[in-house]
Structure formats: structure tokens, C-alpha cells
Symmetry: C2
């Protein structure tokens, strides 16, 4: 995927803060055929793994998360920032580089034992992905896989998720 | 669509504020076959209308917005809350019932003359949808259609969009 995907990921220096090189996926979103190849490739990887639901964290995770759920014909579980989900929910607090964050899931989003694929567009420190995995487990679901479009290999997200959840995170390109 | 869709829209009273009856789409998202029917129905309606890109406002708009873009094989343009998009962008400020909000688009998200379908899950006052339409026009794009899963007919969104943009908003269910 490297040769077709990397030209559609735009580097934006110093966003959101000085010193950060942001990977902008909007050129990829503007290209329907490569976008479909991304979905096909992720779906192919997980098709044999008895996934029963796809979950993703707002907002960017929703984009490929829903497309993967549709391709695999599975329920989609939205994980949202605090205060957005209307019904009965659980909350997970976690630390970011600067300050704290919280994400939420509806308690009826999955049945105990459900095998969930967690998707986000980019794996960096793994903080958000790990918090999402904790919530799946608190609802007695199974973290059956992690999928990302992009992995930042100079950050510890990949090894963190492998150690905590015992699954090998899947990604299409690595920087 | 009423009979298959309405049972999957959960009423949550007093969310986000007392007196508001919130329409929760998470049961619909958990149902892949009805979710696909929603996408098919919207795509069928717009297939003959020479749409060239699908745009949606985060976060809930991304869910069916990307699915519609994929079904119609078109570019997807994410419209985001202020401060989220990394590259050169325009900002549109608008009023909510309590306070103000701002949404943004990348300036290279569309070429002048591009016919854009704007999607969101719910049409209420039309404030966000109208702000999104203003941005499309500022970038010299054409607001070729508005699509919603749900219309709240006791609020003025439908007539506002029709008057401002000269298109008949399309929705699947109305309350």
C-alpha cells in the first residue's frame, strides 16, 4: 500500500503544535478508489478473525471505521468524547501529553463476549486506543483486533497495545 | 423507510438539556442491513443529480457521509470544528441556541464549480447545515443537495435551507 497511500498523506509541519509533523488524511478521503482499497485491505485482513463489531473513536476514526463495518457487514459502535452520547454509558479517563481527556460508550453497545475490532486512522502514543480497549473490556467485550491506517513507529503505541491487549495492531503504512 | 427505520431511532428524553427529546441513532448503527438500506436509499435519490463530492460535518455526519460518498464513488470532504483541520482553511461562525460555534473546511477541498452534496444525520434548526453551505459557496462550489436521515419538522431547518440554497432537503424520516 505504501506507493499508492503515501502520496495521499499530506505532511503539515508544526500542527497542532510546534515540532509536530501532522499526517493529514484529507487527500486520501478525496480519492474514492484508493479509499476503497484501504477499506478492502483492512477488511481482508480481519475477515477471517471472527470479528463481531467495529468500534471507533470520534471524529476521524468514524470515517474508515464505518466503511470497514459496512464492508464486513457488522455493527458499528461509536465511541465519543464526554457528554455526546445520550443514553446510559461508561466513561474512561486518560492522560494526553497536555492534560486529560475522557471518552464514552453506551453500556448496551455490546453483549458480553462480543469480539470487537477497534479502528482509528493513526496510532501514535496509543493513549486513546488503549482507553477505548479498556472500555470494551469493562463491558466484558473482547478486544479482538486493532486497526490503523497509519502507524508512527517512533512512538510507543504499537508495543503498548500489544502488551496490554495481546493483539498485534494492524496498520497499512508506517512512518 | 418509516417502518424499518423508526424502531432503530431511540428517543432519549431531556438530552442534552431538559425538554429536548434526543433522537439516538446508535441502534441504527448497530444494524448493518438497515444501515445499508439507508445508504442505498440516499445514494439512489442523488445518483442522477450529477453530485461530484459529498461533504459532512463532524462527528455524526461523518458516519453516513462517508458511506454515501463510498456508495456514489465520490470524494469525501470533512467539515470540522474549529482548530481540527491542519492545512489552509476557511472558517464559518454561526449562532446556536446558546452561544456561538465555528466550523472549518480546507480551501483545497473543492474546485470552483464542484457540485457538493451536504449530509448530516439530523436536520433541526438548520444552523450547522446552513453554515456548511455558506462555506461551500465561499469556495465557489455549488450546494447541489442536502441529505439527512432525520428531519424535525417542528423546527425551521427545512424551509431555511430551501430558501437560502434553492434545493429541497432530502430526508428519510420526519418527526
Amino acid at each position: 500500500m505504501d506507493t499508492i497511500l503515501k502520496p495521499l498523506l499530506r505532511d503539515v509541519p508544526d500542527f497542532p503544535r510546534p515540532g509536530i509533523l501532522f499526517k493529514d488524511i484529507t487527500p486520501l478521503l478525496a480519492n474514492p478508489s484508493v479509499r476503497q482499497k484501504v477499506v478492502d485491505s483492512i477488511a481482508l485482513h480481519f475477515r477471517s478473525q471472527q470479528i463481531e463489531a467495529v468500534a471507533a473513536v470520534e471524529a476521524r476514526g468514524f470515517i474508515f471505521g464505518t466503511l470497514i463495518a459496512q464492508e464486513l457487514d457488522l455493527p458499528f459502535i461509536p465511541i465519543r468524547k464526554a457528554g455526546k452520547l445520550p443514553s446510559k454509558k461508561i466513561t474512561e479517563h486518560y492522560s494526553l501529553e497536555y492534560g486529560d481527556a475522557a471518552i464514552e460508550m453506551h453500556v448496551d453497545a455490546l453483549q458480553p463476549g462480543t469480539r470487537v475490532l477497534l479502528h482509528d486512522d493513526l496510532l501514535a502514543t496509543g493513549g486513546t486506543a488503549s482507553a477505548a480497549g479498556n472500555m470494551i473490556q469493562k463491558l466484558r467485550g473482547i478486544v479482538a483486533g486493532y486497526s490503523f491506517v497509519i502507524n508512527l513507529s517512533f512512538l510507543p503505541g504499537n508495543s503498548l497495545l500489544k502488551e496490554k491487549f495481546g493483539v498485534e495492531p494492524h496498520f497499512l503504512v508506517s512512518f
